[in-house]
């Protein structure tokens, strides 16, 4: 664990230097998610005037609650998509030769990919997270059953996101071309996980896709705990699902790392595909 903590510190510094290489990063950290949030809000706001909307989607009838719903979605998406970006950066290390140095070192491979994802998450998401908290406070829409639920919300975002990041890193570490991740996980994740629409409003086959994305479960817990006043008991199913999914992702990461390293030792190519 002591060595894993050192790897965590090392990756935190590396991510900080890589991500904050330019002040323009503030655009991707705050301005870009804000623009997407505003676009979604003003696209959905006319729904409030739709007859019968209060029965089908009560939240949409209240502009402030709608904004809070969308802000939680944007926050969750920022968490998870920052890990897609981090995995893409990690795959580039294969081309620059530093990936081989990571494999030359005695550092635990899982610790490296988890630390890399965690560090990227913190660096990428803190600014928008601060903005979201300020917005919830100003809108006065937070309805929490117990103060401990804040911790539950935090963990329900953090743990699955880190597991998701470790999984993506471990898979993409061996890929020559990671650009497909953006196509695969940008708009589809935004849509299928219920970032801007409630999951119940989506067709069954999209809900099925969303169910294997950890962002879907995280958003269910975050919205349930922060906006609907649900307690641990109410969210037990979602929390259990998230725990299982996080465990599966971490196990898959371990498997991919072992498979990938063994293949690299056999073929001389640090790539899986």
């Amino acid at each position: 664990m002591r060595h894993a903590a050192k790897v965590m510190r090392a990756e935190a510094l590396k991510q900080h230097r890589q991500i904050f290489g330019s002040k323009l990063v503030l655009f991707s950290m705050l301005v870009w998610p804000l623009l997407k949030l505003a676009e979604t809000y003003y696209t959905l706001r006319p729904l409030a005037a739709t007859p019968g909307i209060a029965e089908r989607w009560p939240l949409a009838a209240d502009p402030e609650r709608l904004l809070a719903f969308l802000a939680t979605g944007a926050l969750g998406f920022t968490f998870f998509f920052s890990l897609v970006q981090s995995a893409w950066h990690f795959s580039i290390e294969r081309q620059t030769g530093t990936l081989e140095l990571l494999f030359l070192s005695p550092a635990n491979r899982l610790a490296v990919v988890v630390a890399n994802g965690f560090a990227a998450l913190v660096q990428n998401a803190w600014l928008f997270a601060c903005f979201a908290v300020a917005m919830f406070t100003l809108l006065d829409v937070v309805n929490v059953a117990h103060p401990a639920m804040y911790a539950v919300v935090f963990l329900a975002m953090l743990v699955p996101a880190v597991a998701w990041g470790a999984f993506l890193n471990s898979v993409l570490i061996f890929s020559r071309d990671a650009a497909f991740l953006y196509t695969l996980l940008d708009d589809p994740m935004w849509f299928a996980s219920g970032v801007r629409l409630p999951v119940f409003a989506l067709p069954g086959w999209i809900r099925a896709i969303g169910s294997v994305l950890p962002l879907t479960g995280s958003l269910a817990v975050v919205r349930g705990a922060l906006l609907d006043g649900q307690g641990i008991g109410d969210l037990a199913g979602e929390l259990a699902g998230l725990t299982v999914l996080s465990g599966v992702l971490l196990l898959a990461a371990v498997g991919a790392l072992r498979l990938g390293e063994a293949r690299a030792q056999r073929t001389g190519q640090l790539r899986l595909f």
Binding site: A10, L13, G97, T98, L101, S105, P106, Q265
Partner: protein, 309 residues
């Protein structure tokens, strides 16, 4: 000591390394030479645990890299030339600190070691500068410091001076020689054969993954028939002098410009000169060319190609 026995590595149908037996003792720089594609880098990567051999055994200080990779990685490091294997957006000091964390080096040890290594490679003045602002030579020197961050018992150097300016390469050679004096086992591959000749007490020559020859640079030269060449310029070369010179030894050759040339394992300079003068020759110049390791490697490679053909 690093030892390999019958080391073999296949990539599909291609055999990159075929039955290599190597011994790389501590306290010595051992050379591994061969033309491009000879299997040098593959061999080094097997020793570094980055590749796994198809058959044969490897022992690194008594450890098996296949069964004990973690322990082996703590005791070795690899420095490859010509590649940017450090992080450009971090400073030189930060890069060393980063890799120090990966090797789990205690903070009390790491801090002074980073300072020592930066001084060793002449980068103390640029310790706080981002690597993206370094020259190629500075980046390569930082890579060398990175390779020493875990104070490895065995250092694998794959073309470490590739692309470096002559003064920097010379300084690096001093560093490598110093590491061997400290008791580290060093394996060096380089295209600069003068460098190998200067640093290595023992050299392995491989071709197409197979062992071709081994020995000290002098032994390799002797094995391949590379000897000192004497070139005597005769200003009044006549048929009579030519006949006398050719009769002196069957290895005497006549070259354009009135040059009499002799390549021989023994030092016959004086005797040949006397023969030429006694036959009426007037000396215009005398040149003695010592054999080089390059001649030996080329000779070995040519023989290897002949065998393959």
């Amino acid at each position: 000591m690093i030892e390999t026995v019958n080391l073999r590595k296949e990539f599909g149908a291609k055999v990159a390394v075929d039955g290599l037996n190597l011994s790389i003792p501590s306290g010595r720089v051992t050379g591994l030479l061969g033309l491009n594609g000879a299997g040098k880098t593959t061999t080094i990567k097997i020793l570094a645990t980055l590749l796994r051999q198809t058959s044969g055994t490897v022992s690194v200080g008594g450890l098996d890299p296949v069964k004990q990779p973690h322990a082996v990685r703590k005791r070795i490091n690899l420095i490859a030339g010509g590649e940017r294997m450090v992080y450009a957006r971090m400073t030189g000091r930060e890069n060393l600190w980063y890799f120090g964390q990966l090797y789990d080096i205690p903070t009390k040890v790491l801090k002074p070691r980073i300072g020592q290594l930066l001084e060793l490679v002449g980068l103390t003045h640029a310790a706080g500068t981002r690597v993206e602002q370094y020259s190629r030579g500075m980046t390569q020197r930082l890579s060398i410091a990175r390779g020493l961050i875990n104070d490895p018992d065995y250092l694998l150097l794959d073309e470490p001076t590739l692309g470096l300016d002559a003064p920097i390469a010379r300084d690096l050679r001093k560093v490598v020689a110093g590491l061997a004096e400290q008791g580290k086992g060093v394996l060096l591959t380089s295209h600069y054969l003068a460098e190998v000749e200067q640093l290595c007490e023992h050299v392995y020559v491989i071709g197409d993954g197979r062992h071709l020859a081994a020995g000290s640079p002098a032994e390799l030269m002797a094995q391949t028939g590379c000897h000192r060449t004497v070139r005597i310029t005769v200003t009044n070369l006549s048929p009579q002098i030519e006949a006398a010179a050719l009769a002196f030894d069957s290895r005497v050759r006549l070259a354009p410009g009135g040059v009499v040339e002799l390549n021989h394992p023994d030092d016959l300079t004086g005797a040949l000169t006397t023969t030429i003068i006694e036959s009426g020759g007037a000396l215009g110049g005398l040149e003695i060319v010592e054999p080089s390791l390059e001649d030996a490697i080329l000779a070995l490679s040519d023989r290897s190609l002949e065998v393959i053909a």
